[in-house]
Every structure is written in structure tokens, then in C-alpha cells.
Amino acid sequence: MLELIVISTLNGVLFGMLLFLLSSGLTVIFSMMGVLNFAHASFYMLGAFFGFQLTKWIGFWPALVLAPLLVGAIGMAVERYGLRNTHKHGHVAELLLTFGLAFAIEEIVSMIWGKSPLDYRVPALLDFPAFTIFSTNYPAYKIFMLAVSVIIFVALLIVLKRTRVGLIVQAALTHPHMVGHLGHNVGRIFMAVFGVGSALAALAGVIAGPALVTQSDMAASLGPILFVVIVFGGLGSLSGAFVASLVIGLVQTFAVALDGSLASAFGPLDPSAGPSVLTDIWNVTIAQVAPIIPYLLLVIILIVRPMGLMGTRES
């Protein structure tokens, strides 16, 4: 049992950190620009596919740097030529733009790379068990993923809270005219923020690609859970997203690891004595409902605390 708990904790933290790496970009863009970017998971997917292609051409390590830069550049172009023009029509227009973009990216990706999963391998340098715990190997690559996520979290937090750059970026959101009068180019700041957010998503894609599956529906399968993370953590709150990612990662992993069903939870009310219409429902195990638990959490948090765990405003 202890073995299961330790391994599940490790797995849960890892999944949580990957979620964070993804949602950090989304939440940064949201808190700075007020744009809920539906195409965010698509940038993650682009990162994975660019990572795969560049790995084939020039190796994994250059790809790890180049792919996020490329996707970041695409993100900046989207902001400069797409979002900036729709901005004056309000948030709904921006939302719709990113929504359409998500579909376009998915189609383009499946046109170029096909719809089957790609053979994106873990680099040989990291393809060994990092340590063995209770006779279970823990792959070095997963430790690498964990390390990258932690570094990004710390770096982001420092840049936003402790540097002049972060100060200007935050000021540009609430008082764009004042920042402009002080001689800063507000448009360029927004463009940079959007680029960095997209690059972060792409970085998550490059490192998650080999560990999970790289295929054209990866954005669609991960997109919804990202929104759960940022709403649960509090829209626009970086530390909220961090906590929410970990909570969701752990909850999902432990839900799988635990045995038990509704019937066992109800003990004496267990209807297994006589078969009834409810028998099927009673016998559903916690593991089976694991995938919907995050969405259940989303609903509960919106009812109990609409601004999210660490959010400060109710929008």
C-alpha cells in the first residue's frame, strides 16, 4: 500500500506539473491581456509536432529551444495581425478568433503530419531509469519534465513579481494609456506577452510529446482540462494555477489507484443484496469516474467560490 501511495504521489505531481506548464502560459496571457485563449492547447500541440520534426532534423536539445521560439513567433504574429485588430470589437471577438484558430491549427497539423500518432521518442541521453523505488523504475525523462516545470514556475514568478518588466506588463493591463505616456510601447508589450505564453505552451508540448502521445487530437483532449485548472486556481492567478494543477494531477492519479465503489462507500445501504435498477450505478468504481472528477471540482468551486482558489476578481 505504501508503495502504491509513493508511486501515485510521484505520478500525480508529475502530471500536475505538466498541467501547470501548460496552464501557466494560458493564465499569464489571461491576467495580462484579459484574453481567454482557446487556441492555447493548439500551441501546445504545435510545440509537440515542431519538436518531433526538429528532433528528426537536428536532434532533441536544439529542438527543445527552437520549437518554443518558433511557436512563440507564431503566437506573436497572431497577436499582431489577429488579436490587435479584433481587440477594438471587444472580448467576444477575440474569443471567437482564438476559437477558430484552434480548429484551423488542428486541421493544418493533421494535413501535414497525418492523424496517426507519431513515433516521437525520448532522447537516448534521458532514456534510463533515474532511480528504483519499491522495485519500480522511475524514468529519468519524467524527472527531467518535473525539473523543467519547476524552473519555469520559479522564473515566471520572479519575472512577474520582482522585475521592472513584470511591473510594466502588469501596469499595461490596467492603465495602458498611462504606460503609453511614460514612453512604453503597449502594443509591443502585449505582443511579447502573447508570444511568451505561446512559447511556454510549446515547451510543454516538446517535452510532453515523447512521454504522452503526439497526434492531431492532443489539443482537443487536453484543452478542456486546462480551463478547469485556471478556473479552479482563480482566473489570472499564477500561484492559483500551480496549486490547482497539483490538486488535479493528484486527484486524478489517486482516483485511479484507489479501489472502491459507491456501494462500498454506502456500507449497510449496499443494494447488492437484491439486484435493482441502481446496481450498475452502485458498482461504478472510483477509478472509472476518475476522468470526470476534475470537471466535478470545477462545478463545485464555481458554486462555492466563483473567483477560484486564489483568484482576486470575479470574472
Binding site: 508503495e3 505520478n11 492523424k115 519524467k142 504522452l212 502521445v213
Partner: protein, 410 residues
């Protein structure tokens, strides 16, 4: 209103197309060509296209050229019905599908209703891989024909083999949470319980179909249970990723599987380093030793650049031709009648028969293991250097279970 306009815009050109191509015999291939099942679906499509080309080179079926019409159902029953209707509107009278018994059940029901409502415009459903036993039992249909061995036939053969393997003490079941996975799980419990009551079932897991991207939590659970063998019906990415996670965690158990040979499976098995510890049960495999089948495999690989993962598709198309020639017609009603009780020499040798009672094709099946090859085994899988090795052959009379089907005949 906009939806209606759109639907008309999409369908109208198809109708025109159908009228102009009266002579071709169209087969609607309804399987996933996107999403989690895409790798499997694309492999199946290439196989059917190869088979169609092969038949066309020899004059098609009764002079009709065969055309495979690919339709993407995203492994979704609802989407499949939309695609089936689309196919029927485009003049298709034969549909074939394999991936997902939930889809199979929906299509079987759809075809049955369609045929009772539209006499004279019947459609046949050729099932090459959806193996949920209910399709040839309580939900059986006259218009449905299945070429793959049903899940309970496979489990019967598999447990007969496991029964004699004394080293099996603790078994873990992990399956996809839908009709097929549930039938594998309940058959395994029932048959192992009857044949080897001393075997302990230490875990019984159902996970969401084609949704899990990281199986590490499940592998941790299998490891903690102390199982020495795992029985799984997983296919497609659900198998490849399961084994990938097992390789990462260093889990060493014997795997008894239905679909280890599917796309991505062999690569993942090689990563685990389990030499001849992963077993699969199929109606044929590359190194079966049958000369005709091995020559066919060679030609198939040379052209399609894939292993022949569906010998049953070869049987299906060849039997379709045989039935049409027997009936001297490509009218679905006549072909269906001709298929009943049709005996046929299968690709990997031996004779099979399409059982009249439930339209289940009965055929010899094989248990094989994956690992290093001997000299008489020329075919490896996915460039791993490892391939399938014959463990046990089950002849047709031993590879059948009775049916409860009460067929409603037209």
C-alpha cells in the same frame, strides 16, 4: 435551416456521383481515421484498399470494380450512423467496420432497421473486428456477418492455454470501459474460475476507451497487486501506451492479450524487454508457417509497407467474392443467403464456416508469443527485430462456443 442547407450542399454532389458510377461495387469503410483510434483505422483502410486492388486486377466481383469508400467515424457510434447514412445515400450496399463493439452494435441495429424500412435497398454489414459476443447472441442480426472470432471464443482458447500453465497464480484484468472490454473481463473471470479455481484475480480494472495518455497510475496498481500475469483486451493506443508505461516502470509480468500486434504494440513490447512473455490470440499471423499465407504476407508488406494485421479481412473479401459468384449476383439479399453456411479455406490454412445460426465465422485460431525469431520465421514487426512465434493452434471444432441467437429472417 443553415444546417439543412449545409446537408443538402454536402449530399447533392454525392447523389450525382452515385448515379454516374453505377457499375462499381462500393464498400463503405466506416472506422476511425482521426482521434485515438486513427492508427488502427488507417491500417485497416490500407488493407481493404490493397484487397480491392487485388480483386480488381482479376476483374473485380462478377465484373464489378470494387471501390472502398473511407468514412471517418472517430470511434463514435453516433458519428458512425451519420457516416452509414451518408454511405447509403451515396449508393453503398455493403459497409464494413471493425474498431469498437459499441460502434458495431449501433451499426448492426441501424442496418437492420434500414433494411426493414427500405425493402429492395438492403445493406449488409461485414464486421471484421468488433468481437463483443452480444453481436452474435442476444443482439444478432441477419444482416450482420462477423469474420473475427468473437471475444468469448478467443477467451475460451486463451484460458485453455492458461489452464495448463502452472506458473500462473495471480491474474490482473485491465480492459477498456465499453461493451467489448466488459465482455473480456466477465469471460475471463467466468472461464478462469471454472478451469483454474486456484488462480486469484488480484485486480479488475476498466479505464476510459482511448482517452488515457499515461498509464503509469494503472501500472503502479498492477505492480502493487503482485500479479504474475495480466489479461487485457486493449487495442490501439490503449495497448501501446499501457506497455510503454510498463516498460518505463520495469513491470515484469506475462501479458495475455487480444491485440498486442496492432499498430504501436510491437514497438512497446520490445521496449519492455519481455522476450516471449507477451501472448496474443488471432486468426493468423505472419510466421504461421503456412506457405500461401507467408507469400501473401511478403507481397502485402512489399506494397503497403505494413504487416498484414487483418488476415480476417482477406477472408472477408475473398468470401464476399465467393458468395457473390455462388449467388451469381451482387444483390445484398442474395449474397447474404449465399454466405450462410458457406465453407471456405482461410488464408492461414484450414477450413472455416459462416455459421448459419448467428453469422459468426468459425475458423482455426492461433496463440503466438512475441520475441526473438528463429531461422524459419522471416517476419519481424515494426522493425523491432522481434516477431510472432507459434505457441498453440486451435482447430475449428475446438474454437467455437454455442450461440443463443434467435435469428429473425426476412
Amino acid at each position: 435551416m443553415r444546417k439543412l442547407t449545409l446537408a443538402i450542399a454536402v449530399i447533392t454532389p454525392m447523389l450525382g456521383h452515385a448515379a454516374s458510377a453505377e457499375d462499381t461495387l462500393k464498400i463503405g469503410y466506416i472506422d476511425p481515421l482521426s482521434g485515438g483510434g486513427a492508427s488502427v483505422g488507417e491500417g485497416g483502410l490500407k488493407t481493404f484498399q490493397y484487397l480491392a486492388d487485388e480483386l480488381n486486377a482479376k476483374g473485380g466481383i462478377l465484373g464489378h470494380k470494387i471501390e472502398i469508400v473511407p468514412l471517418d467515424n472517430k470511434t463514435n457510434p453516433q458519428e458512425s450512423l451519420v457516416q452509414a447514412q451518408k454511405a447509403i445515400d451515396a449508393g453503398v450496399h455493403y459497409i464494413t467496420q471493425g474498431n469498437g463493439s459499441s460502434v458495431g452494435a449501433a451499426l448492426s441495429d441501424f442496418v437492420t432497421k434500414n433494411n426493414s424500412r427500405n425493402p429492395g435497398k438492403e445493406v449488409l454489414y461485414f464486421n471484421y473486428a468488433a468481437v463483443d459476443p452480444s453481436l452474435t447472441n442476444e443482439k444478432c442480426s441477419y444482416w450482420h456477418f462477423r469474420w473475427d472470432a468473437s471475444s468469448d471464443i478467443k477467451m475460451e482458447a486463451l484460458t485453455n492455454y492458461m489452464k495448463d500453465t502452472a506458473s500462473i497464480k495471480k491474474v490482473y484484468l485491465i480492459n477498456q470501459d465499453y461493451s467489448f472490454g466488459q465482455s473480456v473481463r466477465s469471460d475471463a473471470r467466468k472461464m478462469l474460475g471454472a478451469k483454474r479455481p486456484d488462480i486469484q484475480i488480484v485486480g479488475d480494472e476498466l479505464h476510459p476507451l482511448l482517452k488515457v495518455t499515461d498509464f503509469s497510475p494503472y501500472i503502479a496498481k498492477i505492480k502493487a497487486s503482485g500479479a504474475d500475469s495480466v489479461v487485457t483486451g486493449n487495442w490501439g493506443q490503449d495497448f501501446a501506451l499501457l506497455l510503454k508505461a510498463a516498460a518505463d516502470a520495469g513491470l515484469k509480468v506475462n501479458w495475455y492479450t487480444y491485440y498486442a500486434g496492432g499498430a504501436g504494440g510491437p514497438t512497446a513490447v520490445k521496449q519492455t524487454g519481455l522476450d516471449h512473455q507477451v501472448f496474443q490470440i488471432t486468426e493468423g499471423f505472419a510466421n504461421s508457417g503456412n506457405k500461401g499465407a507467408m507469400d501473401y504476407e511478403k507481397a502485402f508488406r512489399a506494397k503497403v509497407n505494413l504487416s498484414l494485421w487483418y488476415p480476417r479481412a482477406v477472408n472477408e473479401m475473398r468470401m464476399f467474392k465467393a458468395a457473390a459468384e455462388k449467388a451469381n449476383s451482387i444483390d445484398p439479399v442474395k449474397v447474404a443467403a449465399a454466405l450462410e453456411d458457406l465453407k471456405f479455406g482461410v488464408l492461414d490454412g484450414g477450413e472455416g464456416i459462416m455459421r448459419r445460426d448467428d453469422h459468426q465465422f468459425l475458423q482455426p485460431i492461433y496463440i503466438s508469443s512475441f520475441g526473438k525469431l528463429t531461422e524459419s520465421e522471416p517476419f519481424d514487426e515494426e522493425n523491432t527485430g522481434w516477431g510472432w512465434h507459434l505457441v498453440s493452434k486451435v482447430d475449428t471444432p475446438q474454437a467455437m462456443v454455442s450461440t443463443t441467437c434467435k435469428m429473425t429472417r426476412p
